[in-house]
């Protein structure tokens, strides 16, 4: 009987021949990702009553959520985390400025094919783009993983999402995944593992595959995955010396659903406030006035995202009374964008460049909105209050759409600017 990617990887980690959906397994993750919430997790860890972290080598801690600290409270939180890191001898620690955890982990060789990664962040499925099984967990269970080195997981049912057709100009992986979320619903893949496959996915860059897996969280998925190939191997070259074993679904695996999408006729997509599945083609919302345009985050803060934005904005000037925020996902991305002249193009066009981190996405600092304002963002969430103000509205789209809209000051179809 064929097994899905999730079944194979969880069976291997549990030391079993095979596992069935619904079965609970106790497994030892290869990596435990935590971020600014590490201090809170450390506090729970101490409540458990264990002195030392069970397997410090699996801990990867990235300060990214509110960096640099916005208030004394945030600064104290970071200070507590640095102390914990030192006290426990945790070597994989990335301080303020390195970038967003979901970009830093792969860059530093911690997200590898066949790995089981758990993280105290809901967008942990991003690492599925490297052929890992990566799931978000809560703080208490992160503390429990620190104490015991293991975790309970339920083997999920799986969807196979096959993307076919020719991707039209001005349409990107963000549009594809927004469309899929609109189709399946915000809970359409609740507790499922979603395997993204098909010729369009095979053609995609690693960065574009990361968008799919990142946004799997917004359809409720436990994990999203793209199986590794030559692109994955080449991307990882020079980033790790660790041993890893690639895992692939069996061709005769049993899926709860196999869903095919043909993207040949797909329009750029926009998620309207206040849910990610509130989807329309961009043509239906074009012309809506925006106050802020935001390109960045763990969804769309990579070199290819800024490259397309620069292509649209080069030699032009953003609309009056519109703010454009640029947030590179990591130091590596920022350096590459600087070297390419992309940052200069964007700043000349009127953009504000923020330091690598989560920035405005979660509303704690940098680019917080005022009542009645509208932001068009490349992030993954548009919930009420998400960017710090519950009387503000957030629309989600691709980097090209956000760049085009920054030029016009209203939601604009990027196909007219490419």
């Amino acid at each position: 009987m064929g097994q899905t990617f999730a079944q194979k990887i969880l069976a291997r980690k549990a030391g079993l021949e095979e596992v069935e959906p619904g079965q609970i397994v106790t497994v030892q993750p290869d990596k435990l990702l935590t971020h600014d919430n590490t201090a809170a997790i450390a506090k729970i860890f101490r409540e458990i009553g264990v002195e030392r972290v069970a397997r410090p080598e699996i801990n990867v801690i990235v300060l990214d959520h509110v960096v640099p600290a916005a208030t004394e409270g945030h600064a104290t939180n970071h200070q507590q985390i640095r102390r914990f890191v030192e006290e426990q001898g945790i070597t994989h620690f990335y301080d303020v400025g390195e970038g967003i955890c979901h970009q830093v982990l792969p860059e530093k060789g911690h997200a590898l094919p066949g790995y089981l990664i758990v993280g105290s962040d809901s967008h942990t499925p991003t690492h599925g783009a490297f052929g890992a099984f990566a799931a978000g967990i809560g703080r208490t269970e992160a503390a429990s993983v620190m104490a015991t080195g293991e975790i309970w997981l339920m083997v999920p049912h799986s969807f196979r999402v096959v993307v076919k057709g020719g991707l039209p100009k001005g349409v990107y992986s963000k549009d594809i995944v927004l469309y899929i979320i609109g189709d399946l619903g915000a809970d359409g893949a609740d507790y499922r593992s979603v395997e993204f496959a098909g010729p369009v996915v095979e053609e995609m860059s690693i960065a574009s595959r990361m968008v799919l897996c990142n946004m799997a969280a917004e359809m409720g998925a436990k994990a999203g995955v793209v199986e590794p190939d030559e692109k994955t191997r080449s991307w990882l070259t020079g980033r790790t010396s660790a041993d890893f074993q690639e895992v692939f679904a069996d061709p005769d695996a049993t899926y709860e659903r196999v869903i095919e999408y043909d993207v040949t006729e797909l329009d750029p997509q926009v998620a309207r406030p206040h849910t990610v599945d509130n989807m329309v083609p961009i043509t239906e919302v074009a012309g809506i006035r925006i106050d802020q345009a935001f390109i960045g985050t763990c969804t769309n803060g990579r070199l290819e995202d800024f490259r397309v934005a620069a292509r649209i904005l080069r030699g032009r000037r953003i609309a009056p009374n519109t703010r454009l925020l640029i947030l590179p996902a990591s130091r590596e991305v920022l350096l590459a964008a600087l070297a390419d002249g992309i940052i200069a193009d964007l700043v000349t066009a009127g953009a504000v460049v923020l330091n690598p981190g989560c920035g405005p996405c979660l509303g704690a600092h940098q680019g917080v909105m005022a009542p009645g304002e509208v932001t068009l963002s490349t992030a993954n969430r548009n919930f009420k209050g998400r960017m710090g103000c519950k009387e503000a509205e957030i629309y989600l789209a691709s980097p090209a759409a956000v760049a085009a809209s920054a030029l016009t000051g209203e939601i604009a179809d990027p196909r007219e600017f490419l």
Partner: protein
């Protein structure tokens, strides 16, 4: 202490109640004591909740309760506000895990169809049934493993017991 039967007054909500409205992100990365977290519970959804909730009250909702961020405060704030159980048509995965790991009883049931805010319902784990003013709704039993965590009062006491600390 684990109770098999929970009776409580209902706060009823709709579908897709996300963790940003249960516990706003702006409070997430400062270390607030649980009692203070409780004061912000459901702040952006129902401003009446935090000041009027009584111990043992039950939240009843539609589909996909707790979607969005993995922030565990979205469970902690409700638990410390006194909420005795959560009943929804479905829960977002991480939220469901967080509730179990904090020892807050969580039930997947369509009971939202049989009750209005302010009315009383009873959740009975021994028979897998939610009793509402307009009928009974059965729910599938939680696995033995998960019940073990709930009965121990959450993952922390569960791990302490497993590691032989208690």
């Amino acid at each position: 202490m684990w109770k098999t039967v929970h009776t409580g007054r209902v706060w009823k909500y709709g579908d897709d109640i996300n963790t940003d409205v249960i516990y706003p992100g702006k409070y997430t990365y400062t270390d607030l004591p649980p009692e203070e977290m409780a004061e912000h519970a459901l702040e952006d959804l129902d401003p009446e909740f935090a000041s009027n909730v009584r111990p043992g009250d039950i939240i009843v909702a539609g589909r996909n309760f707790g979607c969005g961020s993995s922030r565990e405060q979205a469970v902690t704030c409700l638990k410390h506000a006194g909420v005795g159980a959560l009943v929804a048509k479905s829960f977002a995965r991480i939220y469901f895990r967080n509730a179990i790991n904090q020892g807050l009883p969580i039930i997947q049931s369509d009971a939202v169809e049989g009750v209005e805010s302010g009315e009383e319902i009873t959740v009975d784990f021994s028979v897998g049934k939610v009793s509402t003013p307009r009928g009974d709704y059965s729910f599938p039993p939680l696995s033995e493993f998960v019940m073990g965590i709930l009965e121990d009062g959450g993952l922390i006491p569960h791990v302490r017991r497993k590691l032989g600390i208690d």
